[in-house]
C-alpha cells in the first residue's frame, strides 16, 4: 500500500470508526 492509499484509508476509515462509535454508544446507553 502506498502513501496515497494509506492517507485515504486513514481519512475515511477514521471517520467511519467515529461514526461507528456514536452508533455503538447509542445502542449501549440505557433507554
Amino acid at each position: 500500500m502506498g502513501y496515497v492509499d494509506a492517507g485515504y484509508a486513514f481519512a475515511l476509515g477514521g471517520l467511519a470508526l467515529y461514526a461507528l462509535s456514536i452508533w455503538w454508544r447509542g445502542r449501549r446507553d440505557p433507554r
Binding site: 502506498g2 496515497v4 492517507g7 467515529y18 454508544r25 447509542g26
Partner: protein, 239 residues
C-alpha cells in the same frame, strides 16, 4: 424540511465522499512536481478545514452564545461539546494524513514546525476540553467552564492559520490562493478540491448531528431517571 435533511444528509455525504475518492484517485492527473502524492491534497486540507474552522468555529460560536445571558441554553452547551468531540477526530486525522504526506516529501513523519506543532497543541486543547467536562457533575458549572475554556482555546486557531506566514516552516504556505488572492490550482484539480471540501463539510454536519442526537437522548434519559426517583420519594412521603 427537517425530516428531509435527516433522511438525505447521510446518503448525500456518502455519495460526496465516494465522488471525492473517485476524482482524487482516478480522474485527476498526477502533479508535475509531486506526482501521485499530490492526490493527498483532496483529503488533508479538507480535513484541516473541518478541524480548524467548522468544528472549532461551531464550538466557539455556541460557547460565546452560551455565555451571553440572553441566549444561554442547554442546547448551545450540547452543540459546543459535540463539536469539540468531532474536532478531536478531525484534528487527529489531519495530523495523520499530514504525516503520511510529509514522510515521502520532507523525509520525516514529524517535524517540530510551527504549523504542525500548533495543530498538535490544538488537538491537546480539544482533548483537555473533554477532560474538563468530566471534572464536575454540576451541569451549569460544567457548561460555563467549558464555554470559557473553548473561547480561550480558540485563540490558537488563528495562530495555526497564520503560522506558515509568521514563522519559517517546513509546511507549505496556502494551497488554494496566494496572499494576493491568486489561484494556485486549476481545472479538474481545483474542482476536485472543491468537492472534497463539500464532502468533508457534509461529513462534519452528519457526524455532529448524530453526536448531538446521542447527547440529547442521554439528557432525556438522565431527566427521566431523576423524575422517576423524585416520584418514588414523593410516594414515600420524603419530598
Amino acid at each position: 424540511m427537517k425530516a428531509l435533511v435527516d433522511r438525505l444528509l447521510g446518503p448525500v455525504t456518502l455519495v460526496a465522499l465516494a465522488v471525492t475518492v473517485w476524482l482524487g484517485l482516478w480522474v485527476t492527473p498526477p502533479d508535475v512536481h509531486q506526482g501521485n502524492l499530490a492526490r493527498l491534497v483532496y483529503v488533508h486540507p479538507a480535513l484541516a478545514w473541518v478541524a480548524l474552522y467548522l468544528s472549532f468555529g461551531t464550538a466557539t460560536i455556541a460557547s460565546a452564545l452560551y455565555l451571553w445571558p440572553r441566549t444561554r441554553s442547554e442546547v448551545l452547551d450540547r452543540v459546543a461539546h459535540c463539536a469539540m468531540e468531532v474536532s478531536v477526530v478531525f484534528i487527529a486525522l489531519t495530523l495523520i494524513t499530514g504525516s503520511i504526506w510529509g514522510r515521502p516529501t520532507w523525509g520525516v513523519w514529524w517535524a517540530w514546525d510551527a504549523r504542525l506543532t500548533s495543530t498538535a497543541v490544538l488537538g491537546l486543547l480539544a482533548l483537555g476540553y473533554l477532560a474538563l467536562r468530566r471534572a464536575t457533575d454540576d451541569a451549569h458549572v460544567r457548561a460555563r467552564r467549558g464555554a470559557v475554556y473553548v473561547l480561550l482555546a480558540a485563540i490558537n486557531v488563528p495562530i495555526v492559520h497564520f503560522s506558515v506566514l509568521w514563522w519559517k516552516t517546513l509546511h507549505q504556505n496556502a494551497t488554494v490562493f496566494t496572499a494576493d488572492r491568486h489561484l494556485l490550482i486549476h481545472g479538474i484539480m481545483a474542482w476536485t478540491l472543491l468537492v472534497s471540501f463539500v464532502a468533508f463539510s457534509l461529513a462534519f454536519a452528519w457526524l455532529l448531528r448524530a453526536r448531538y442526537r446521542l447527547e440529547a437522548s442521554r439528557g432525556a434519559v438522565a431527566d427521566a431517571v431523576v423524575e422517576r426517583a423524585l416520584d418514588e420519594r414523593r410516594r414515600e412521603g420524603v419530598v
